[in-house]
């Protein structure tokens, strides 16, 4: 028997995501996947899933979801007022929902993206080994698009959903991601010093013209950049591109695999989840960081997730 849930209200932008479509960047396939992989993994761990089980990523305005079958779920990431039927539900813990229950997202308190994990994971067809939705190319997820009212999604039940790295559900909360309100300082490995100087000790705002592909960073006078035309090369999530004119762009999960702009800095892996929680209007600052500090931060994060 498989479970199912249906989307009563889709929220602003809710998609199916896992840890991404790795292995095909040489063929031009964007990785995509959860913008805040920490909270995605935490949600999965809370309900006993492997880290790569698919969750729903809700953005800024959360959805309403009806559980058609008895379902164990957890919500992590951006903090919302949550109710199951009429009762308040806590973030960051495992909750049992009876068939027919409705999970409602209310007011958003902080952060941009929530992750809804169901026991076994959300079941959509894998495309190139991943269930992640990449809307621009219409790949993965449910028909390659954001969820709509009336969509019905099956959930994986039984042993199939466990997968590698599955653990017993955690009734006690693991450490949730700390989401600073209003903006964040993120640590970066700096690019060339002349390029990094355009980003260092400046406060930028996340432009409304930002999405899962990248954040445009506005509001700071960064001066003009005199770099010749570069030959396109591979890029990675967390890179802050500096176009010759216009706003710097922080590349996020859905970014194209290659780019030709100068690179001012790259956000460290451990701070990508916090970057994924920024919303338009939030500020961002970049602090230079060493490999040693970056690795230390990543190990601490793994320890907080209980991966020893």
């Amino acid at each position: 028997m498989t479970g199912a849930l249906s989307i009563v209200r889709p929220g602003m932008f809710t998609t199916v995501q896992d840890l991404g479509r790795w292995g095909f960047q040489s063929r031009g396939v964007p990785v995509s996947g959860a913008m805040d992989t920490y909270s995605h993994r935490l949600a999965n761990r809370l309900v006993g899933n492997g880290d790569n089980a698919a969750t729903l990523e809700a953005t800024l305005i959360g959805p309403q979801i009806a559980f058609e079958t008895d379902t164990t779920f957890a919500v992590t990431g951006a903090s919302f007022a949550l109710t199951l039927n009429a009762e308040t539900v806590a973030m960051n813990r495992m909750t049992e929902a009876k068939a027919g229950s409705v999970l409602k997202f209310g007011e958003r308190l902080c952060g941009a993206r929530s992750y809804i994990a169901v026991s076994g994971g959300v079941d959509v067809p894998e495309v190139l080994g991943s269930r992640s939705t990449h809307v621009l190319t219409g790949m993965g997820g449910l028909e390659g698009r954001a969820l709509r009212a009336g969509d019905r999604i099956r959930t994986v039940t039984g042993a199939r959903g466990k997968g590698r790295g599955a653990i017993a559900p955690c009734p006690s909360p693991l450490t949730p991601l700390t989401i600073p309100p209003g903006g964040a300082r993120v640590r970066v490995i700096p690019g060339e010093s002349t390029l990094f100087s355009h980003l260092a000790q400046k406060r930028f705002r996340i432009s409304p013209r930002s999405d899962r592909m990248g954040y445009r960073l506005e509001g700071a006078d960064r001066g003009s950049v005199s770099v010749g035309e570069l030959i396109s090369g591979a890029v990675t999530t967390g890179i802050v591109q500096i176009p010759p004119a216009g706003e710097p762009i922080l590349l996020m999960a859905d970014h194209a695999t290659t780019g030709g702009y100068a690179i001012g800095a790259t956000v460290i892996t451990a701070d990508l989840p916090v970057a994924g929680q920024l919303a338009p209007g939030d500020w961002i600052e970049f602090d230079a960081c060493s490999f040693k500090a970056a690795d230390h931060a990543l190990r601490e994060q793994e320890a907080a997730l209980g991966r020893v």
């Binding site: 063929r27 031009g28 090369g233 990543l298």
Partner: protein
């Protein structure tokens, strides 16, 4: 010798000069292939581009010093040939008309007839330097200088799937409908990318391609 540069804590690139050259690109493809074949745990993606190889890795599983040494050793090996002697992948093209709305503009740019443009575009065998932009999108070159028209100032909102375009010395095929700024001279029925196919991608970096007028 290549130039190593870190893109953050989980990505390393080695690049070879700032020019587009089939031999340089062949070396990049060879390095990427060697790395992929070793299948080391913690390597997530290896991407060969025009003049560089970029390795995406898990910093908890890969030692940076080991990886940079490995890349430097591979870069020091003799560069292979370009493989230009292998059979090219043939891509049929319907040039002009609705399929190629910019054919006339390219002819004007080249001070030649539309037939000349078709001839100049379809007589060469192009190298696939890299894939990027979209799944299955191959950057190929080099286009004959006479028809190497720069891209549109303002990209089109919609370019049809299979459209064959020119952007300066580059030529390529749009694998799906998308906004785009290349000069569209024709369209192919070849599927550059189909995730349902056993091999989802028609092309990879290092391949050679010849367009055939339908």
């Amino acid at each position: 010798m290549g130039c190593l540069s870190w893109l953050g804590d989980s990505c390393l690139s080695i690049s070879f000069g700032e020019k587009i050259d089939p031999l340089v690109n062949a070396q990049c493809v060879a390095i990427a292939t060697s790395l992929e074949q070793r299948g080391r745990r913690g390597i997530r993606d290896v991407v060969a581009t025009y003049n560089a190889v970029t390795v995406h890795f898990d910093p908890l599983q890969i030692d940076r010093e080991d990886l940079s040494t490995e890349l430097a050793v591979l870069a020091a090996m003799d560069a292979p040939g370009t493989g230009a002697d292998v059979e090219p992948v043939l891509i049929p093209v319907e040039y002009g008309g609705h399929a190629g709305p910019d054919l006339a503009a390219v002819a004007e740019f080249g001070h030649c007839s539309e037939r000349d443009v078709i001839h100049l575009h379809s007589m060469k065998v192009y190298r696939v330097y890299m894939l990027g932009f979209l799944p299955g999108f191959a950057y190929m070159g080099s286009v004959d200088a006479r028809i190497a028209m720069p891209r549109l100032d303002t990209p089109r909102i919609r370019v049809a799937s299979g459209s064959v375009g020119i952007a300066g010395a580059q030529t390529g095929v749009y694998p799906c409908e998308t906004p785009g700024g290349w000069r569209i001279i024709g369209r192919t029925t070849s599927q550059l990318f189909d995730p349902r196919r056993a091999d989802a991608f028609l092309l990879k970096a290092g391949d050679w391609v010849k367009f055939v007028a339908d």
